[in-house]
Amino acid sequence: MAATHLNSASIFLLTFSLLFLVMGHEASNSGQYPVVVSTWPFLEAVRAAWRVVDNGFSAVDAVVEGCSACEELRCDGTVGPGGSPDENGETTIDALVMDGVTMEVGAVAAMRYIKDGIKAARLVMQYTEHTLLVGEQASAFAISMGLPGPTNLSSSESMEKWIKWKENHCQPNFWKDVVPVDSCGPYHAKHFLGSSHGTCSKTTLMENIKSRSSHVGRHNHD
């Protein structure tokens, strides 16, 4: 009888220590949270997200706070209003938020007149069963859900940049195989004389790749 007692006691002890080990591992695991990671040295954005998550708020809240900080501060000019004008000089906003637990996603694209991109994306995630809203319909949705707007998203810097670009015959730009090649539009398809077989398009393809790389870069990208 004594042996059996001993046996069950040791099994109990073993199980308890294993449990502790696992819990301990978990505990030490959870010691590495929270964590914030962001593209580029956007220190204020990471600090903003850290303040939220370190105070026990959710990962989604922290991401929205961090990205919103960049939308306000404009970070390197590629985030938020006042940057990256299109061919008409207009700034629009793209944003996305994803909850890695529920796999829910909300996003807005080419959204006009609304500066709070990621807040709008979160509204899409929270209050619709959709994933992505675009253009002026996304703006109307955002306003209807309480975000401020419509607002002009251009800035003096983006307008100045745009005017210079217009004065430089709209170069560089994202058109290919169109005429006129070296001035502003309207553009029309470039019709090749003779065949449209591989050889002609091959050289144009190489030209396109070379020309594409000339203007996508550190200050002109997604």
């Binding site: 964590v35 962001s38 593209t39 040295p41 220190l43 998550v53 990962a59 890695g100 560089p172 994202f174």
Partner: protein, 136 residues
């Protein structure tokens, strides 16, 4: 573009991206900022990824989905990040882009092509944000 990943105190993960896109784009053009799986992706069983770069190209390859799925299959973050970028570079040698990858153990890494990339991290053992530089 800012692309951000956050693990909260419970270990739940979320990602987000915000951008005003390419300069002098043709009106109506959308890059990969709002495309889940391209500019950002997360699965709290595995980890998360954020990306930045030439969205016209990157949205064709969904680099962040690739990173997370590679980590799901056991790849370490730095290999998963390099692999996702190399798949794009093989088809578009002149493309410009970068990703960061972080697994649920908090191990992180970055990879880039066509430019030097930096990403920022803040975690409990740090006093402030730390910036990591990644060269192509």
């Amino acid at each position: 573009t800012i692309s951000m990943a956050v693990f909260d105190k419970m270990g739940n993960i979320a990602v987000g991206t915000s951008t005003n896109g390419a300069t002098f784009k043709i009106p109506g053009r959308v890059g990969d900022g709002p495309i889940a799986g391209s500019s950002a992706y997360a699965d709290d069983e595995v980890g998360a990824c954020g990306a930045t770069g030439d969205g016209d190209i990157m949205m064709r390859f969904l680099p962040c989905y690739q990173v997370v799925e590679s980590m799901r299959l056991g790849m370490e973050p730095n290999l998963a990040a390099k692999d996702a970028i190399s798949r794009i570079a093989r088809k578009f040698p002149d493309f410009v882009g970068a990703v960061f990858a972080i697994n649920k153990k908090g191990v992180h890494a970055g990879a880039c092509h066509g430019w030097t990339f930096q990403y920022s991290v803040r975690s409990p053992e740090m006093d402030d944000v730390k910036v990591y530089t990644v060269v192509p």
